[in-house]
């Protein structure tokens, strides 16, 4: 019982973290159909700038806000310079965003040095409680909480405003949306910035979780985020949440019960979902 609870709580927390990372990608890839391989780079920048701001201010909250701002600024630059010329062309998106990913990761080394950097957890979030054999790690509970809040906010915006609709319409036919009087370029820019901000937030939260930030972390996690977006059903927020939690839990359970498969668990999960429900767990429409 305690064992299952442990596996579940920790799997959930991992899932939520993956969700936060995938949330930005769901906006960018799911809604705008942009294959942004630089997403991991934005995530890593969020992580590093979070650690940086924490280092100079000692305040975790400021560090998170700083990371989000970094994400917004980088999102702005990325959209204007990198993404704008390639909307609607996946092949070019792959090339240009991979190039930008290299630039982003390498710039991290220029700015923050080439070494990994330790990330500290604020005192009020570090440590764990042990309740009846179940170990509740404070920081992980905190992440679950943030995940739920972010989900609620984004879901609210998508449901209660036209933005989601406009973006989806814009992907189907950009010209027509403009002909309806909407400055779709600006909308895309804002959505992209929001996606980048979410990536940076995920990075800033990831740092204390794993205790370390390093320049290659972006690439490592970006693929995981893509997996989550795809099995969640492109562009579906609830889908991403569910998929992320599934990935988190599957990782946790498999590592315990079928350790020999644990290396392959994400790939197996994705393959299974694609075979039995190729459109993903949810579709954007159902969301």
């Amino acid at each position: 019982m305690g064992l299952l609870m442990n596996l579940t709580v920790n799997g959930l927390a991992t899932g939520m973290l993956i969700f936060l990372l995938a949330a930005g990608l769901t906006l960018i890839f799911g809604l705008m159909s942009v294959l942004n391989f630089a997403h991991g780079g934005l995530f890593a920048w969020g992580a590093f700038s979070g650690v940086f701001f924490y280092g100079i201010t000692g305040s975790f909250i400021i560090s998170v806000v700083g990371a989000i701002l970094t994400g917004i600024v980088l999102g702005f630059i990325t959209e204007k310079l990198i993404i704008k010329p390639v909307y609607g062309n996946h092949v070019q998106q792959i090339l240009i965003t991979l190039g930008f990913m290299l630039v982003l990761s390498e710039m991290l080394k220029v700015v923050f040095g080439p070494n990994q950097i330790a990330a500290k957890t604020p005192d009020y979030l570090s440590g764990s409680w042990e309740v009846g054999g179940v170990i509740l790690i404070k920081y992980r509970l905190f992440i679950i909480l943030i995940g739920i809040i972010v989900f609620a906010i984004v879901q609210f915006i998508l449901k209660r405003t036209k933005i989601g609709l406009i973006v989806r319409a814009g992907v189907i036919n950009k010209e027509m949306v403009q002909a309806l009087g909407i400055d779709i370029n600006k909308v895309f820019l804002y959505v992209f910035m929001a996606g980048a901000a979410l990536a940076a937030l995920a990075g800033a939260l990831m740092a204390p979780y794993s205790g370390v930030v390093y320049a290659e972390m972006g690439l490592e996690f970006a693929i995981l985020a893509f997996i989550v977006v795809v099995i969640g059903g492109m562009g579906s927020f609830p889908g991403s949440l569910l998929a992320a939690i599934l990935v988190g839990l599957a990782g946790s359970y498999m590592a315990y019960f079928v350790p020999s498969l644990s290396l392959a668990v994400n790939m197996i999960l994705m393959a299974v979902v694609l075979i039995f429900r190729p459109q993903g767990l949810f579709t954007a429409k159902e969301a």
Binding site: E106, Q116, I135, S210, E216, M217, G251, S262, L263
Partner: protein
């Protein structure tokens, strides 16, 4: 006129060394440590003259980018274009393995540093290679020596790939030789973010020690502390990594393990020189994990050349190098004749918090002598 000839050939007869290292990418910091160490080592061994027997030593560095095909390209360039007499490298075992056949093909001595895979001096051995780096088995033996004993129950935890398997395998042998009992071998996805399942199993197996073999930035330390392993009476032990990685090991303060090198551990002149020069030149930075390795490689080369009187013929070099002992920042190293592995000192340590140092510091418990950490011969 005979003298003229000698002089004539002597002036253009420089000895060239090609160093392969990961100067970009994930292993960049290792590559740079090797590079600095090698430069300093040459200077030290030649007393600043950069000459042996009147021959100038020239070093060419190449970045392998941690890609085997690039390593081969660069190694060939070094061998063919720069016509180097020695190869040194590399930061990753894969790159090194890919380059080994070239050393054999071109009949040049290659000093392996700091690649750690056992197979380099094992199944893939060829006579042209010598390794100043310690191998996985030595690490493991050292790890075992620092915690294993009669009746001690140990669980191991390692990443699920060759490095982890090799490390655990060797550790297990060494620890069992010392009378310990391995109660559990846990492996985790090296890229995992959540280690709950593994740690849960470890807790259940109730060992005295958890021996962790780990490499890479993504590490389980935070979670080990969050899951309160230490409070449950499980002592943690592992190899102390380089300084950037040490800084994330705060949760493990108090743990006992081993170290390949930390600048305060060895007590000898070479190390004193290294620490002093390194801090002077690099803004107060101290030498790190693989800096002495780079230095040792340089020292070994100069030592060998001195013995052959500047002759770079590989067969002659091999002859003098087999069994050769030389002084390094880590004390005396000896190339074992059978597999050309340098036997060397490792250190049993304890991690302590120290005033003014932003990371846990490995403090010496005792030196593990070259004999004590001698690995099995595997070629």
């Amino acid at each position: 006129s005979g003298a003229d000839e000698v002089e004539g050939s002597g002036s253009d007869e420089t000895i060239k060394v090609g160093v392969l290292a990961s100067l970009t990418g994930a292993l960049e910091s290792y590559g740079k440590q090797t590079q600095r160490g090698f430069d300093l080592g040459l200077e030290y061994a030649t007393d600043g003259s950069m000459e042996v027997n009147g021959k100038k030593i020239e070093v060419v560095y190449e970045d392998t980018e941690t890609k085997p095909e690039v390593a081969v390209q660069k190694a060939t360039k070094l061998l063919e274009e720069d016509e180097v007499d020695f190869l040194v490298g590399s930061s990753s075992s894969g790159d090194t393995l890919a380059v080994l056949p070239l050393a054999e093909e071109y009949e040049k001595v290659m000093i392996v540093e700091p690649a750690v895979a056992d197979s380099i001096t094992g199944s893939e051995f060829n006579k042209y290679l010598f390794r100043t780096a310690r191998n996985s088995s030595q690490d493991a033996v050292a790890g075992a020596a620092s915690i294993a004993g009669e009746g001690v129950k140990i669980a191991t935890f390692a990443p699920d790939y060759s490095f982890g398997w090799d490390g655990v395998e060797a550790f297990k042998n060494a620890a069992e030789d010392l009378g310990a009992e391995i109660v559990l071998e846990e492996y985790a996805d090296p890229a995992a973010t959540d280690f709950t399942a593994n740690l849960q199993k470890i807790i259940e197996s109730d060992p005295d020690y958890l021996f962790v073999v780990w490499a890479g930035a993504n590490s389980p330390w935070n979670q080990i502390s969050d899951m309160k392993l230490q409070e449950k009476g499980i002592k943690i032990s592992t190899g102390a990594p380089d300084i950037p990685a040490l800084s994330v090991m705060e949760p493990l303060v108090g743990m006992e393990g081993f170290s390949v090198y930390y600048h305060t551990l060895p007590d000898n002149e070479v190390n004193d020189w290294l620490v002093k020069e390194h801090t002077d030149r690099f803004d107060g930075e101290v030498p790190d994990l693989f800096t002495p390795g780079g230095m040792s490689a340089a020292i070994a080369i100069v030592e060998a050349l001195e013995q052959t009187e500047g002759e770079t013929d590989a067969d002659q070099l091999i002859e003098v190098m087999e069994g050769m002992s030389f002084e390094t920042p880590k004390g005396t190293m000896t190339f074992r004749e059978e597999d050309h592995q340098a036997l060397q000192t490792l250190y049993a340590i304890k991690l302590e918090q120290q005033e003014g140092v932003p990371y846990p510091v490995p403090v010496l418990i005792r030196e593990l002598s070259p004999e004590e950490t001698e690995p099995p011969i595997m070629n």
